[in-house]
Point group: C2
Chain length 251, copies 2
């Protein structure tokens, strides 16, 4: 029997418990939405790092033309980095490696290393990601949905995202499955009459983003299931799953 388990913030991750499991990481505002959109804008890969220091250290391995530094710390754009807002990235990331440092999402992804497979997901690609998870699920493997949260706080937008993913999983899983209490609650929230945009702008992070004039970004990230690209985090970088890599036709 498959078990779907929702963690409400990255601080709840116990790396040992992810071993062998399929993990989906959500940071709807904005890291995992930024990742999805950067890949769809043509970024070669996104490398999620813990902070600006790791970003600079890593960037030394690349020619200056190959990468862009993108990131925030506690909501403020890091000096010398591009902001992680999708609307501002569109023109910068094509054919580049995006080195991305954020307070929550990229940290959650790094804490998930050790899982069998890791998907960064968001509202835009939730359907595509869950279809891929289910089609590759091994017997007995758990599906662990990690809400990144915000600095050890529960985030409404990630919880809504978890509800959306569970709703997709319910459609796609063939056999019986169980869901923990957090997942059950998230799914009820998702199926309530509250619209995604109206909910997300009430959240603490949503309010913050709106107060800085980035309504366009929120409108973009609430589009459910419009993105068919499946991002996968392996070998320390996030790429489009199944995309043709240099020098080979194999995924």
């Amino acid at each position: 029997m498959t078990h779907i388990h929702v963690l409400l913030k990255k601080e709840e991750i116990e790396p040992d418990k992810l071993k062998g499991e399929a993990v989906i990481v959500l940071d709807v505002l904005l890291a995992t939405s930024t990742i999805a959109l950067a890949l769809s804008y043509g970024a070669k890969a996104v490398i999620p790092v813990l902070n600006d220091i790791d970003a600079h250290r890593l960037s030394a391995q690349y020619h200056p033309d190959e990468f862009v530094l993108v990131g925030e710390k506690e909501g403020r754009v890091i000096d010398g980095f591009l902001p992680p807002n999708p609307s501002l990235l569109k023109s910068y990331v094509k054919d580049k490696i995006v080195i991305l440092a954020t307070t929550n999402g990229t940290v959650a992804l790094n804490r998930s290393i050790g899982a069998e497979i890791i998907y960064p997901a968001c509202l835009r690609n939730g359907e595509a990601v869950t279809r891929d998870v289910v089609s590759h699920l091994k017997p007995g493997q758990k599906i662990i949905i990690v809400c990144s949260g915000s600095s050890n706080q529960f985030c409404l937008e990630d919880f809504y995202g978890a509800g959306y993913l569970i709703s997709c999983l319910r459609d796609q899983l063939r056999g019986p499955f169980t869901i923990n209490d957090a997942g059950l609650a998230a799914e009820v929230l998702f199926h309530s009459n509250a619209g995604a945009y109206d909910l997300l702008i009430q959240s603490a992070v949503g309010e913050f983003i709106l107060s800085h004039g980035f309504e366009e970004d929120v409108r973009e990230v609430v589009e459910l299931g419009v993105d068919h690209v499946v991002p996968i985090y392996q070998n320390k970088q996030i790429t489009k799953k199944g995309a043709v890599r240099s020098g080979t036709n194999k995924a």
Copy 2:
């Protein structure tokens, strides 16, 4: 401006942050529901303790006729104690002091000591409790709703309870107020079409209680707002707020 802040489990309580604030503690299945029902069955007081050892130590202060020991540890009734299920307590608690040890709710209450005022609340008395909270609220005082959770896990039933309390507070608060993300999500859940009973029996603890044949208890605890008694936790014991105490007509 009043701030309503929901904590999702007792492990999130930071005692220093409760100073001066009004705290409402929820352990819907079952501790705070048990407390409400024990008081309505005529218990003199309920004394919440951390565990069986503290319960025995405390009981030494009383004559054997004065008290009953009630409690569970990780869902199992403690040897020599009465089970905390309301349906089983009805005939034992009248005019007694109930010394109550549970895994979550009574621990959450004890962790909340230091707050300005502490109310154990549940679905049955949520309306009465929130009315009392609002009528005694001081300028700038926060309302902190503590979901006890279950052994460091999020609990659906307490989250639903938090949503119910916020819905009541929204009706009763006159001035402007803010709600944290957890509270916003809980309120949306409460206003969804999912009925309380149907939701609660899907929760991990609800399933456990039902599997032990205590459907009657779940049916009793989901009755919203039927109980007008306000329990208050002060001087280490929970009594009916405003009840006539021995030797005086004053509250």
